[in-house]
Amino acid sequence: MANESNPRQPGAAGAPAAAPPDVAPASAPALKPPAPAEALATAKQVEELADKLSACADSIHVRVMADIRRHNGGEVPEAEQAVARALLDAEIELRQRANRLYADAAACIVSSLGQSQQKLVQLTIDAAAKIRQITRISDGITLVARLLGLAAAAATGQVMPILAAVGALKLQLDTIALHNPAPSANPSANSSASPSAKPAADGAAPASDA
């Protein structure tokens, strides 16, 4: 809480040395302090990330409901109920995290999340899709936990925890890819937030090329 309400030095957004290899090149040019015009872009980016977290929460809900419906109104075994409740808790927590970012976007407190923004958004899009596809529910629980970690890190506005969380989420997505060999590329049943994801991510692209 303390460090979140503290407007950070934009320069700290660089921190490229500690970045995992896959994000390091992107986050390197973030040392430049944001100009007034960029502040708006940042608020928009924060809002966009919150949109994606909301979409992940939607994915979790869809997944949980699909599992429940498989019982056709019959009794759901206790063990499955417990899993569903755990996922529901995670979904609700994710929504709170998203609402935090909406509040931050309104207040513009979160300083630039750095150039890893685009990557971050892409990861959450992947996660939302994966949650619906996974065959092993245990993978899903870990994935959701990683997602919550990322959401919590994003709320701090600190680059280091964000990058660590990004790494953990990416690792989990890779692990799932091993368990669930490539399904049909794009489930069009995604929530309404998802179609806008691609152009939005593209919009952020020029920044990371700088």
Binding site: A39, Q96, Y102, A107, A155
Partner: protein, 288 residues
């Protein structure tokens, strides 16, 4: 007696005619009546939705609290504090916009009122710090508009015409309306997560109670779900209506800015009358 009447009638007719002529030939200076501008400004000042939805946003936690797990509740309480910290500023934007529109309305009419007491309301300004909830340029717009209003109102309107005010105010008015639109959009998204939190629990828990002995509890849960679903459905519409209204005000003001020299042209009057009708219709829809 009769004679005096006879004489005075044409005199008044002539006076009225010359006044009418004057108002046609000098459309943008002096205390002319610009009926449509006035109507538009009045409708813009009374635009509904934003204030109510700002309050709803501020009070999010009160509504969602009973549905939260301890972990989610911890985050929610922090969010609550954040939302409350910025509420006054969110309302402040609206206040300055309303005062601007009221002043514009007075300038566009002949009557004179004293608005100076309302200036006190603006005096404090927005908290220009990290928690103010507004971007620097929004704060600049607020300050700019406040300064303009202070000048206009303090001068007793004499030296200000509608055209001057619209020209000087447009950039700030647009910036503030944009801030209100952005905020309303964020309100709507926050509400969406609240809705899905509240309804989502019942989505999951009601099927789990399929074989539950306690039928009354399940029935109550279903009734509660229906009530809540209806409530959110009604609220969802209000965000749309509020956003439409804000966009209309922004468009209308921009059109005036583009047509400063023919505010009294037929085309412009028709256009403003249309915006006005739309704003009134939106307001009616919001008060249903």
């Amino acid at each position: 007696m009769n004679l005096r009447r006879f004489l005075s009638l044409p005199f008044f007719l002539a006076l009225a005619a010359s006044l009418l002529l004057a108002s046609c030939t000098t459309p943008t200076s002096g205390p002319v009546s610009l009926y449509e501008v006035r109507q538009f400004a009045d409708a813009s000042a009374r635009i509904g939705g934003y204030g109510e939805l700002s309050r709803r946003y501020r009070d999010t936690y009160q509504r969602e609290q009973p549905y939260l797990s301890p972990a989610a509740d911890r985050i929610a309480r922090e969010n609550d504090a954040r939302r409350r910290a910025v509420y006054d500023d969110f309302v402040g934007i609206q206040k300055s916009l309303v005062l601007y529109m009221q002043t514009l309305s007075l300038l566009a009419g002949e009557a004179r009122y004293d608005l100076s007491t309302q200036l006190d309301d603006l005096g404090t300004g927005l908290k220009a710090n990290a928690e103010s909830g507004l971007q620097q340029r929004h704060i600049a717009a607020y300050t700019g508009l406040t300064r303009l209003l202070t000048r206009v109102i303090a001068s007793g309107y004499q030296n200000r015409s509608v055209a001057t005010m619209v020209r000087d105010g447009d950039a700030d008015v647009q910036a503030l309306l944009e801030a209100m639109i952005t905020l309303t959009r964020l309100y709507a998204k926050t509400n969406e997560n609240e809705k899905k939190t509240v309804l989502g629990i019942f989505d999951v828990e009601i099927p789990f109670s399929a074989k539950n002995q306690d039928r009354m509890l399940v029935t109550l849960a279903k009734v509660h779900y229906l009530n809540k679903a209806t409530e959110y459905k009604l609220v969802d519409k209000r965000y749309d209506l509020a956003l439409q209204g804000l966009a209309k005000v922004a468009q209308g003001h921009q059109r005036m800015r583009e047509n400063l020299n023919n505010l009294t042209s037929d085309e412009m009057r028709k256009l403003l009358a249309t915006y006005c009708r739309d704003l009134v219709a939106l307001r009616d829809a919001l008060s249903d």
